[in-house]
């Protein structure tokens, strides 16, 4: 692997093909939704998220990131469903007109299990896959190079825009913009910030267009890639097996054989 591309992943799971890891994340997400109840998503998460994470030695980091990410949504789910579940009969707590119900709690726990599994799957994918690798692999498989470019450029533009926003804030503050007043004052400061950032980015489009055209961007057809992530027959078989589990489990669910998962 050329040095300017990066270093290979530290574990076997890291070194899997990006599309394999993506399929794993997507299938885990779908299974967490298909297999209802509480035990189902937890089982799915244990097998498809926690096990690979332990193998890749990022279990601690995964749990930390995934929990931090799902905390706001977890709080919302808990509050909304605990207190505002209309079919709830078994009242646990009463605060004025708002009642906390047992049914609401059960529904909330079910939703939380599902969200936790999905969050874990997504976090596992992004922690083990650099975006450049994914885009290169997609391009090798036939995604149009220009779409691959858009994907990669967007992922890079987000932090770049934020940095630019920080620079604009500093510049505007040097020109007397008030960024520490009350809410109303700060709201008025949004336009002098957003305006230059947005319009500056849009105005750059012209230059960047010419730069890309000069480098043969609009040439039709595939490009030769200097480096591609490795793939193997076994990984291909694994991907197909993973994809087939989804209709399998939908069938099992529809047939009612998953009732034991509660």
């Amino acid at each position: 692997m050329p040095a300017f591309i990066g270093t290979p992943g530290p574990s076997a799971f890291h070194r899997l093909n990006p599309v394999t890891k993506l399929v794993l994340a997507l299938v885990t997400t779908l299974l967490a939704i298909v297999v209802g109840g509480v035990i189902g998503p937890v089982l799915v998460a244990a097998v498809a998220v926690l096990l690979p994470a332990a193998a890749a030695r990022i279990l601690g980091r995964l749990l930390h990131t995934s929990l931090v990410l799902s905390l706001p949504i977890a709080i919302s789910v808990l509050v909304v469903n605990l207190f505002f579940y209309p079919a709830g009969v078994d009242v646990l707590l009463q605060l004025g007109p708002i009642r906390a119900t047992a049914e609401g709690l059960a529904f909330a726990i079910e939703t939380l299990a599902r969200i936790g599994a999905i969050s874990g799957a997504i976090t596992l994918f992004y922690l083990t896959t650099p975006s450049g690798e994914l885009v290169t692999d997609l391009e090798r498989r036939g995604v149009a190079p220009r779409i691959a470019f858009v994907t990669h450029a967007s992922v890079q533009t987000v932090p770049a825009m934020v940095e630019r926003a920080a620079a604009i804030i500093e510049a505007q503050r040097a020109r007397g913009l008030d960024t520490e007043g009350g809410i109303l004052r700060r709201a008025r400061g949004v336009l002098p910030l957003a305006g230059p950032m947005l319009l500056g980015s849009i105005a750059e489009i012209e230059e960047r267009t010419q730069a890309l055209e000069a480098r043969g961007f609009s040439r039709p057809g595939r490009r030769t890639l200097l480096w591609e992530p490795a793939d193997s027959g076994r990984q291909r078989a694994l991907r197909w097996a993973l994809l087939l589990t989804v209709p399998l489990l939908i069938g099992l669910r529809a047939g009612g054989w998953l009732g034991w998962l509660g």
Binding site: F84, P86, Y126, S154, L199, I205, R208
Partner: protein
């Protein structure tokens, strides 16, 4: 629009209106009458365009539209009365809920219409010029900016400001209007998928990928509206024109709201009253309801004030575009929010969902109700923002985009 085009539009609307009214008098089904009237109007316009200018493109679009409507109406008729919307069945994953099938039917219909449109174009001309022309190098770069703006603004609103709007479609709509429907659709879809799976925290928002189909629909609608010249500046209009424009806007928005309310009552079998009722309801809910009504009246007055102060008729077009896009987006995203997330996505819209649940509605009805309130407001704001961005861009720069001509003001002096 030049004189000949105006004539075609007027004749089309006229014939479509007659067809719609006739159907209503015959069958008493006003939804069907509305849809058929609109289709007939477009087909008549396309036929006239073919006859007068020899251009096949409007006819191909009309064909795609007919297929879209046929598949959508056929799907709705087949699925029947949408089943029991109010029973919460946690055992079967296959919830035959009303709104679930709405989103599926609309998606399938959209795909069918697109296949017919592009298929016809491929058969007639041997190329997909309308698709390829949307994707110039400039478009790709605008898409990059659009996706980045979607993610940054959407994340700021979802994570930091807990207000019941999303503001995650500014990029989608900007690309749609400047580059075309498919470019806008691709921007929306990619932005949502990347936002969930590829962008690292703190900008990652995991629920976003489930709503990718909504973003695709928004992109398509924005592209079509841009092609129709909705966001073309119309400055210095007479007061009469502005007042008529404001009135037409209020009527159209009122019609869409009425359609939404009636549809909501029919599908979810609940009663929706637009005026606050005081029986058996706590005083603070009644107060909130009156406040909401006051906001609506304020918005209408604000629209007229904006029209008369800026003397730009496009403000009215922007409002109509925003409400229309918002209603469609709400209908598509509500079942996703209900089915995948239980109605809660950790954004500011959750408290609206909670309020609906407190009123006794199930998850589907709650998310649909929340969507029908949040989405139109969000999309009107977004369309206004996009309009302001477009006005700040140089004419020469806008003209180089595929649909750039449609956002330039018509120069009366230079001739059509």
């Amino acid at each position: 629009m030049n004189g000949a085009r105006w004539l075609r539009v007027m004749v089309g609307i006229g014939v479509g209106a007659i067809a719609g009214v006739a159907l209503y008098l015959f069958a008493q089904e006003w939804v069907l009458a509305l849809v058929v009237g609109a289709i007939v109007a477009d087909v008549v316009y396309a036929l006239l365009a073919r006859w007068q200018t020899g251009d096949w493109a409007p006819l191909r679009f009309a064909a795609g539209l007919v297929v879209f409507a046929a598949v959508a109406l056929g799907g709705i008729a087949l699925v029947g009365d949408f089943g029991e919307a109010s029973d919460v069945d946690p055992d079967t994953f296959i919830n035959a809920k009303a709104a679930n099938t709405w989103a599926l039917i609309l998606t399938v219909a959209m795909v069918a219409g697109a296949i017919v449109y592009f298929g016809l174009e491929l058969l007639q001309t041997g190329r997909l010029a309308s698709l390829a022309s949307q994707f110039t190098t400039r478009t790709y770069l605008l898409m990059v900016i659009g996706i980045a703006v979607n993610i940054i603004l959407g994340q700021t609103v979802a994570a930091a400001l807990k207000i019941p709007i999303y503001l995650d479609s500014i990029g989608t709509i900007l690309v749609g209007i400047l580059a075309g429907p498919i470019a806008g659709a691709l921007t929306g879809g990619l932005a949502n998928v990347l936002w969930s799976y590829v962008i690292p925290p703190p900008f990652q928002y995991q629920p976003a990928a489930a709503f990718a189909i909504t973003a695709v629909a928004i992109g398509v609608i924005a592209g079509l509206l841009g092609r129709a010249g909705f966001l073309r500046p119309r400055p210095d209009r007479s007061t009469g024109e502005l007042l008529i424009g404001g009135l037409v806007t209020v009527v159209l928005v009122g019609a869409m709201a009425a359609a939404a309310v009636i549809g909501y009552q029919y599908i979810f079998e609940t009663d929706v009253s637009l005026l606050p009722s005081t029986e058996g309801v706590e005083w603070y809910f009644v107060a909130l309801a009156w406040l909401a009504l006051a906001l609506v009246v304020g918005a209408i007055l604000g629209l007229f004030a904006l029209l008369l102060l800026r003397r730009d008729l496009t403000a009215a077009y922007v409002v109509v575009a925003g409400v229309f896009t918002g209603v469609i987006a709400a209908l598509i995203s509500a079942p996703i929010a209900a089915g995948v997330f239980g109605g809660v996505t950790s954004s500011g819209t959750d408290f609206l969902v909670a309020a609906f649940r407190q009123a006794g509605l199930d998850v589907q009805a709650a998310t649909t109700g929340q969507g029908l309130i949040s989405d139109p407001i969000d999309k009107v704001t977004t369309f206004f923002t996009v309009y302001l961005i477009l006005q700040a861009m140089a004419n020469r720069f806008k003209a180089r985009f595929p649909q750039g001509e449609q956002v330039l003001p018509v120069d009366e002096g230079a001739g059509a």
